[in-house]
């Protein structure tokens, strides 16, 4: 078994003009999806992040406000899964509701040190 990190970008969170009913219906799909991952025993951990923040960059460690990426490229969260292969992790990620609102999921193998 190996660990993979899903990196979520964009999605409903960066959309304008959703009604409470639409937000609710979409949220339902997220809890259902995460619930399925948990039930299948592959869910390790996950965090959603707020929009505002700081970015530190370069050798001079310049601090600026916000990521201010294009909203579709804004990182909106991550989730770690434990699966047999990257194919399996990718297959599970296609069930993510983020695609309904044009978001993306990156699937990245986590580098584990020996003996950890």
């Amino acid at each position: 078994m190996a660990k993979f990190m899903y990196v979520f970008r964009g999605g409903a969170f960066v959309q304008q003009g959703l009604s409470p009913a639409e937000v609710g219906a979409h949220l339902q799909k997220w809890t259902a999806w995460v619930g399925e991952l948990a039930k299948a025993g592959v869910h390790e951990s996950g965090y959603a992040v707020q929009g505002a923040g700081k970015t530190i960059r370069g050798t001079r460690k310049t601090v600026t406000d916000g990521p201010y990426a294009e909203s579709k490229d804004m990182v909106t969260g991550n989730l770690v899964v434990l699966t047999s292969s990257i194919e399996e992790a990718t297959r599970l990620a296609t069930g993510c509701p983020i695609f309904e609102f044009d978001g993306s999921v990156e699937v990245r193998p986590i580098l584990e040190r020996e003996g950890m």
Binding site: A12, F13, Q15, G17, L18, S19, P20, A21, E22, V23, G24, A25, H26, L27, Q28, W30, T31, A32, V34, G35, G46, Y47, A48, V49, Q50, G51, T76, G77, L79
Partner: protein, 284 residues
């Protein structure tokens, strides 16, 4: 409780909370700024979506209210600093009050305010948290036309300057018929599934019944015609489990399996039916 129920409850919770929040926020921000209240709620809902998608908080309602309250407070503070608004201390105090702040009183005020003789459609939008597109479906008009109506509705509300008070029967009398027809329209939208491809949207009917119950329970609006509407809705809703067959198509009354009717709702309906048979006014 299985997963499906939790998920269903979540969507309904957000839709209902939107109505309560509009009501609570307009109390502080003023009804002239219902747009601002809606913006704040929209932001809070998106924040909820983001924060809850990987796991629910222990008390979602309180969470949502706290976020909306903080945002409203920020807006008021900023305006006070700029000297744009005179904020009196107790308005901020209202925001400090624990939630729920007498949910039903606030909802009643919002319902009756939206049922201005000209604009009953706003009930669906503000009290029940539908988007303009969904309201438009219900009233069989184009979404763009509905947007215009909603803008006009808000202007009328703003001209009134405040939400109407609904604490005595006399205050309720004038607008009650409009409120009742708005609730029935809403029930009908769920019953005939005009909002979605599904033939029936039970939760919308449930919301309409909930609003009817609030009216029946409130001293100012507990009247025979309100009982009559509630009886009608309960009795219709009781048959819903038998109205759709396994393929999702509608089953006519004479072929429905009566054992699947909701006995509790039938009972409720009969109770309200007999409560409606008092007084001297006949309703259609």
């Amino acid at each position: 409780v299985d997963d499906g129920e939790i998920h269903g409850a979540l969507a309904i919770l957000l839709r209902r909370q939107a109505g309560r929040l509009v009501s609570a926020l307009t109390r502080v921000l003023g009804v002239q700024r219902i747009d601002l209240a809606e913006d704040i709620i929209q932001e809070s809902l998106l924040a909820a979506l983001q924060a809850w998608k990987l796991g629910l908080p222990r008390d979602p309602e309180a969470w949502l209210f706290a976020v909306a309250r903080n945002r409203a407070r920020d807006v008021l503070r900023r305006e006070r600093v700029r000297g744009e608004a005179e904020i009196v201390g107790d308005e901020l105090e209202t925001l400090e009050a624990p939630y729920p702040v007498d949910e039903h009183t606030d909802l009643l005020r919002l319902m009756f305010s939206c049922c201005h003789p000209a604009l009953s459609q706003d009930v669906l939008r503000l009290v029940c948290g539908f988007g303009p597109r969904e309201v438009a479906h219900t009233f069989l008009v184009e979404a763009s036309a509905m947007e215009k109506r909603l803008v006009r509705a808000k202007r009328v509300l703003a001209d009134d300057g405040r939400l109407v008070e609904v604490s005595t029967p006399a205050q309720a009398r004038e607008r009650l018929p409009a409120v009742l027809s708005a609730i029935y329209l809403m029930f009908d939208a769920g019953y005939h599934g005009s909002l979605s491809p599904q033939p029936i949207r039970a939760e919308i009917c449930g919301d309409a019944i909930r609003l009817g119950r609030i009216l029946v329970d409130a001293r100012a609006t507990s009247r025979p015609d309100v009982h009559a509407l509630l009886a009608l809705m309960c009795l219709h809703a009781a048959r819903m489990p038998a109205r759709v067959d396994a393929d999702g198509s509608l089953v006519p009354l004479e072929r429905q399996d009566r054992s699947r009717w909701d006995a509790e709702l039938v009972g409720c309906g009969m109770q309200h039916l007999s409560a409606s048979a008092s007084g001297s006014v006949l309703t259609a």
